[in-house]
């Protein structure tokens, strides 16, 4: 089996972003960047499938500014075999990402695409479902367990009601949830080895996709602030306040 893993370079989730003074966007200068946490989980899952002898090859792909190469090196250091960078200065939105990934799927012919459920910068939670739709494939979103059985994937999905187990035909797109696995750290020797792994560099034009955004973000602002609250000194005082507010009793 061959597995394709799309990974996005995003602001490190532990960093608080700032809005540019003129409200025209988010200021990303000098911010620490990282692989989207859900995508690390996707890479980890693909590598584990390879280690279990289920997968033959794991290919990581990232779309974005040339520095996505760093993110791809991380994926290679974790254990991916090769990588594809689609380089563009445009901040590509989910539908166009899905179209580019579709073109890559057509070239690479993977049996499975494993990707994050959500990019923690745009919080769209769309790309995997869109890719599955464009390919006419099955989708299994928000996966917390994946098993390959009889040429199908059995996936436990984290849904609002609890866990839902589904079976999907392969090829399929699976999107990861947080509890699928604990991603490994790349060891130093593997980081060195990753430097020699092959990386293809493409452009959106090579894939026949116009990367221009369809949605126009016209304003960026701080969310409404909550008014400062108070410290209560005791449980009694807390209960008194809650009774006053009419929420208990």
């Amino acid at each position: 089996m061959k597995i394709l893993v799309p990974v996005k370079r995003v602001v490190d989730p532990n960093v608080k972003v700032r809005i540019r003074a003129d409200g025209s966007g988010v200021d990303l200068t000098n911010l620490k960047m990282a692989m989207n946490p859900f995508d690390e989980i996707a890479v980890e899952e693909a590598i584990r499938m390879k280690e279990r002898g289920l997968a033959r090859e794991v290919v990581a792909v990232s779309i974005g500014e040339p520095r996505v190469l760093e993110t791809l090196r991380t994926a290679l250091a974790m254990g991916a075999d090769r990588a594809i960078a689609v380089e563009t200065e445009v901040a590509v939105q989910p539908l166009e990402v899905a179209k580019m990934l579709k073109a890559i799927v057509e070239r690479e012919q993977p049996d499975l695409v494993i990707m994050g459920k959500q990019a923690v910068d745009d919080d769209s939670n769309q790309t995997g479902q869109m890719l599955a739709a464009l390919l006419g494939w099955a989708q299994a979103t928000f996966a917390s367990r994946i098993e390959i059985v009889d040429g199908e994937a059995e996936v436990a999905r984290e849904v609002d009601e609890g866990i839902e187990v589904i079976r999907v035909k392969l090829p399929a797109v699976i999107t990861t949830d947080l509890r699928l696995n604990e991603p490994r750290y790349a060891s130093l020797p593997n980081i060195m080895k990753a430097k020699r792994k092959p990386v293809d560099r493409l452009t959106p034009a090579d894939l026949g996709v116009d990367p221009s955004p369809r949605l126009i973000y016209t304003r960026f602002e701080e969310p409404p602030r909550r008014e400062a609250g108070i410290r209560v000194e005791s449980v009694d005082e807390l209960v008194e306040k809650l009774v006053e507010k009419g929420v208990i009793g």
């Binding site: 919080d123 790309t127 989708q139």
Partner: protein
Amino acid sequence: MSALVVAQHDHARLDPATLATVTAARALAEEVDLLVAGHEVRPVAEEAVGIAGVRRVLLAEAEHLAQPVAEDLCELVLAVAGDYEALLAPATTFGKNLMPRVAARLDVAQISDIVAVLAPDTFQRYIYAGNVLTTVHTRDARRVLTVRATAFEKAQAQGGAAEIVTVAVPPATGLARFVRREVHASERPELTSARIVVSGGRGVGSKENFQLIERLADVLGAAIGASRAAVDAGFAPNDWQVGQTGKIVAPELYVAVGISGAIQHLAGMKDSKIIVAINKDPEAPIFEVADYGLVADLFKAVPELIEKIEKVKRERAA
């Protein structure tokens, strides 16, 4: 403009998030229809005809929709999408799973998790775990939207007079099938629509200790939530997770116990009306959003709180 809302239901009742989605749809379209899909779901359609502001209820029944998968629902939505300029669903795991599939097939750029409709082509949504509020404008002829239910009033569930129209269902795609669902039944209110939510974090320490959170929830008649750390540690099931990647809640009262207040957690609860935090660390960021902060050991404070609330309730009853 006309809009179609994909109803979420459990074959017995409409999910309240559907009512909020109808309100969002009404904000951009004069005509709002509702799609109720399932197997033997006429009772849900009959419930839906009462929703104020709904023109028609499209009833789509087929055996393969008894436990529908996104692939099959997508074909159905495309089959009925007709001239609707807007297609909406709640931004629950149901809507998140389905709508991008629909959007891609229609070649529409979806706008996820909207919190406001500024104009029929302009919406507000959060990015970066709730840290940035953005205004998004679409130039697509149609819009596909998922709606954050806590950001919109629920439409009146009664008083409307929609008509039920039966629609044909495309055959099953055979791409995916439902196997089973693991839910733990609970008598407590549903987390995303509860009036009060009590959430526990890593500070609670163990699954056994979580009973303390459950007891507090019970005296308050509350739903239970949890931080991701508490879920990861196995103290609480996944469907209790509140936050950026869990559920969004906005109850009248949110009580955070042993939760530090990471931005990803705040993203899921900071629109609550009153926030109470109990944490032994005075520097915990949760206190920055709390209306009432109590710096205390939860193992002392929570039993005392339970006892005192019971006392208040007894006095009220007497």
